[in-house]
């Protein structure tokens, strides 16, 4: 499995009103790993995911998923949008939202089957929200809302998961739940691609990273790619942060969040 690429991006450029947001991005990502797309705010990370999911018009280039175009493998790819992209006051329960993961383009008019419903319950259990499944989504914490989104993706039963900032605004317990889940998914051979902007946690979370700032700065195994130079190129003028990063790099492999620190 691993040798083949999950997602290939070829000479991709995206512009908003003639301003390039992504410029000539070209990379291919491995399968079965947890992959971070890392860069400062406004560097085009969300746009890259949207371009992969065919949600924004592409100026040039193309994207292949498992060597095919997205239209052919849609059910194999689950997209988890940024949490702020929806109105959480929507009248729907946790279960309603996770159920959306089972909706399929060609079966939109069919009833959901028993299997669909089982998969939904399973997904809810995996993110530990069983107790909340009938709750309206407005009455959840940020971390719980994020888990609802992840459960919805899980319910889809995809092979590739594309998540936009799943760690933003979540509590420690949720972070751990999500991380454990990601590792579990990886062990099942799933590919997980995560947009992330917090540089401090990169080495803990990801096997493979793509450093992005409108252009592609670098991509590769985290251990080889997370270098001072690359970070300087990605985060540029943000010096305060950079000094922090450099100390971080020097102390490479230093466990940032020690066991037992997180909770309980």
């Amino acid at each position: 499995m691993k040798g083949k690429s999950s997602i290939e991006v070829h000479n991709l450029s995206v512009t908003y009103q003639n301003v390039p947001v992504l410029w000539d991005i070209d990379f291919s990502l491995p399968q079965g790993q947890i992959i971070g797309i890392v860069g400062p705010n406004g560097s085009g990370k969300s746009t890259l995911l949207k371009a992969i999911m065919d949600l924004v018009p592409i100026s040039s280039g193309f994207v292949k998923i498992m060597d095919k175009s997205l239209g052919l493998v849609r059910d194999l790819v689950a997209y988890v949008p940024q949490r702020e992209s929806v109105d959480w006051n929507f009248p729907a329960s946790v279960e309603d939202v996770v159920m959306m993961g089972r909706y399929k383009k060609n079966k939109l008019f069919n009833r959901l089957t028993k299997i669909d419903k089982e998969l939904v319950q399973e997904a809810i259990a995996k993110v530990k929200l069983e107790k909340y499944k009938d709750r309206q989504i407005a009455q959840l914490s940020g971390g719980q809302q994020q888990r609802v989104f992840i459960a919805r993706a899980l319910a889809q039963g995809a092979d590739i998961y594309i998540m936009d900032e799943p760690f933003v605004g979540v509590d420690m317990a949720t972070e751990k739940t999500i991380l454990d889940l990601l590792i579990l998914m990886k062990n099942e051979g799933k590919t997980i691609i995560i947009v992330h902007h917090d540089i401090q946690t990169v080495s803990n979370f990801f096997d493979y990273i793509v450093l992005l700032n409108t252009r592609l700065i670098a991509h590769g195994k985290t251990s080889e790619t997370l270098t001072g130079e690359n970070l300087q190129a990605t985060y540029g003028g943000q010096l305060n942060l950079l000094t922090k990063i450099q100390t971080l790099i020097k102390a490479k492999d230093f466990p940032l969040r020690e066991e037992g620190f997180e909770d309980k």
């Binding site: 997209y79 729907a92 959306m100 909706y103 309206q136």
Partner: protein
Amino acid sequence: MSLNDFLTLLTAATIGLSCAILGCFLVLRKVVMVGDAISHSVLPGIAIAYIVSANFNSSLLLIGAAIFGVITTLIIDFFHKKLKLQEDASIGITFTWLFALGVIIITLFTESNTDLDQDCVLFGELSSSFLDKIIMNDYLIGTRSFWMIFPVFLIIVIFVVRGFKGLLLISFNEEYAKSKGIHVSMWNLIFMSLVSITTVMSFESVGAVLVVGLLVIPPATAYILSNDLKKMIFIACGLTLLACILGFYFSILIDVSMSSMVIVTCGMLFFSVLAYEKLKKMLKSKK
């Protein structure tokens, strides 16, 4: 209740329920103003339809009029997304312009066509809808107003029941729906066409302004009361029926236009619910 009362109420209820169901999605998708725009910009279409067809029974022409509503949403989209004009400005420009055009068409041709005047365009009149009865083989089979809206109502019910998943998906999270390959703009177009046809078919009875009240007020009230989409739709329908019945009797009681009274009642229900919720919260926090 007399037969005429019943026929009037039946028409009001069918219009009201059609609006309530569609309105729930307008409210949730935050495109109430687009619904408002549609209800106004179908006017030139309606005017042309009335003028072209000497006899007024040609419902087919009125469906044609609904195209103006669909075009409106497309123009708004074009101004907003392609020309990068603010959305509210795009809406304002489009519908006022079309509405004014409609008014001019009507004033120019109104002499030869007394059934269509400016008052009726703006406010409609439900309580005169029973005048236009349809009688077949000596059996009364309803009023023309009713038979104009009833097929639309049926289509809406079927569309919402069958297409519930699609509507839920695009209402909650359009981008996610797109990521699943769902043709969001197609769904949008169908939905807005239904809004458009509904406003056209109910316009004689309630007019271009008041129909917006039916589209917004009961769904907004139901939104406060419910945390489940299906419940929200049912509550909106229930409130609408209540407002129709109460509005009908109020309007007889103080002898005013029924369509206005129905909307006023909708508003009163809304404020009552608002007050009730506020009170409930206050009591809760005191405990």
